[in-house]
């Protein structure tokens, strides 16, 4: 009995999968959007990895004789209120946001995928209750939910990761849930059930690989939002905390000087914008590749 069910379930699968993967790889190599996005992202990842090792000056050393000096050959992006080299700080500033945002996204994706698998597979009361709560949470902007939670539990890099992860969980769960709903009626799931596989095995070995591409695309979309949020939260003081050279903090610190010392905010703003746009280019590119 179980052998015949195996025969129904197993063949046919590997062959088209690898062909599809090769096709997607070719599509990825031809997508200018994806490549441009990856280049921008790679640049900031290199900055985050090497940090102070590749900056022309010490990003944390102040120089009280050269405060607020405009961009020059010595200081390409000028200096801030304490005379610190802004060019070096912009490079180092990539680090914290590139740790916090991806970790938060990963946490949200793992929790959301697990939750989505469960409510999509079991449906019933669990699905109804969770879907209602998700809907209620969607009535609130994520920034406000995060603000409230962070005010209550206190702000640190760890709490920011956890709060954004939890805020993303229902959103990712909803996407995964609808993908799971399409899968549960297919023959391979029925075959696994007939074979006598356990529920956990069906969920994570049979269904998960088939909804994973959707979860991954959703994850890259969420990564863009996560960077958006972490930057915004840091700017209003509820994200990454000083003494980090984070861009959002730098903009908040120097914002009142914008009238006379534009270079203290413009380059950090441009860095944030380029990172967000880079991630979104990757997202758009990936979505295009997975559509083919």
């Amino acid at each position: 009995m179980s052998a015949t069910a195996d025969d129904i379930a197993r063949p046919a699968q590997p062959q088209p999968a690898s062909g599809l993967a090769r096709e997607r790889w070719h599509a990825a190599c031809r997508s200018p959007t994806l490549i441009a996005g990856l280049l921008i992202l790679a640049f900031w990842i290199v900055c985050a990895l090497f940090g102070a090792g590749i900056t022309p000056r010490d990003p944390y050393a102040d120089d009280l004789l050269a405060t607020l000096s405009p961009p020059s050959a010595a200081h390409w992006f000028g200096t801030d209120q304490l005379g610190r080299d802004i060019f070096s700080r912009v490079i180092v500033g990539a680090r914290d946001i590139l740790i916090v945002a991806p970790l938060a996204t990963l946490l949200g994706t793992v929790l959301g995928t697990a939750l989505g698998l469960c409510i999509g597979y079991f449906r019933g009361v669990l699905d109804d209750v969770v879907s209602r709560i998700i809907e209620a949470l969607q009535a609130l902007p994520l920034v406000i939910v995060a603000l409230m939670a962070l005010a209550a539990v206190g702000t640190s890099n760890a709490t920011v990761v956890v709060v954004i992860g939890f805020v993303f969980t229902p959103l990712i769960a909803r996407t995964v849930r609808s993908a799971v709903l399409n899968e549960t009626d297919l023959e391979y799931v029925a075959a696994a059930r007939l074979r006598g596989d356990g529920t956990l095995a069906i969920l994570f070995i049979e269904i998960l690989p088939n909804v994973l591409p959707i979860a991954i695309v959703e994850m890259t979309v969420r990564l863009g939002y996560a960077i958006f949020f972490v930057a915004s939260l840091s700017f209003i003081g509820f994200g990454i905390q000083p003494p980090s050279a984070d861009w959002g903090i730098a903009i908040a610190e120097n914002y009142s000087l914008i009238g006379s010392y534009w270079w203290t905010v413009l380059f950090d703003a441009a860095a944030t914008a380029s990172l967000v746009i880079g991630v979104n280019l990757v997202t758009d590119g990936l979505a295009g590749v997975f559509d083919t």
Binding site: R132, I133, E135, A136, L137, Q138, A139, L140, P141, L142, V143, I144, V145, L147, M148, A149, L150, A151, A152, V153, G224, F228, A231, S232, F235, I236, G237, F238, G248, I251, Y255, I258, G259, W262, V265, L266, A269, T272, A273, V276, I277, N280
Partner: protein, 303 residues
Amino acid sequence: MIARFLARRALLSLVTLGILSVIVFLGGQLLPGDVGRAVLGPLADARAVALFNHQVGVDRPLAVQYWDWITHFSRGDMGRSFTFRAPVAPFIGQALVNSLKLAGLASALRVGQWSDRALVLLGQSLGVVPEFISSIVLILVFGVWLHWLPMSADWPEGAGPLTQLRYLILPSLPLVLVFFGYIARVARAGTVEALDADYTRTAILKGLPMSTVMRRHVLRNALLPTITVVASLLGYLAGGLVVIETLFHYRGIGALIYSAARAKDFPMLEAGVLTVGAVYAIASVLADLLSAVLNPRLRAARA
């Protein structure tokens, strides 16, 4: 048919609001652990903390607290602010009015720009950038370099509506940019679909003038998804308001929520957050009403 549909939707929003109120309440009362400790700080005397907790009533059972809070809330009594030692409701009311002015201007600026291709592209790439980044650029260009517009939304006391409007243009632009791209995309998709639809072809083949086809067949159907999206973005707008209002020193609901979060003023925070949820719920019911009026299928069902 329409009445029943709307009644159902209104009821559903009430359920959603109910669940939301529980989440908000738990977020404000349960997450901080010891409210008195969170508000008074780690150095405060244990007796002072206990006294504070007793005074604001957080030493009672959770269910009692929630019931007390929500029954007062539904009667318009939103509790007393920890920081101002005064009722929360007037603060929320004034802030909400201010924010609606800002949101209203942002929406007005957007109307009529839907179809422009170049703007759609611009909107799409700028729409992914956080509001405070686009604000900085706009402030630099229009405030600092060109001196066209005031850099803060804090207009002088007793300013007329036109002056107020001038002070609000710069803060509203970043909001427009962020959700402009999104709405433009939805509106375009809706239009393309409606132009392609069988009923449009039938109308053209029937020999109706093109302007009539556009107005009565295409526009009505193309607007439907847009209306739904605009309503759902209203909630999103409030999130943008937190950042924008802080940046431009504007006393709206976003800035109120922000300062309440800073000061750990939980009654103010809960009231502000739940108000944003209520505004969103009302907006989505209104959007449903508008869709029902515009949607030929629902109208036909009524007749």
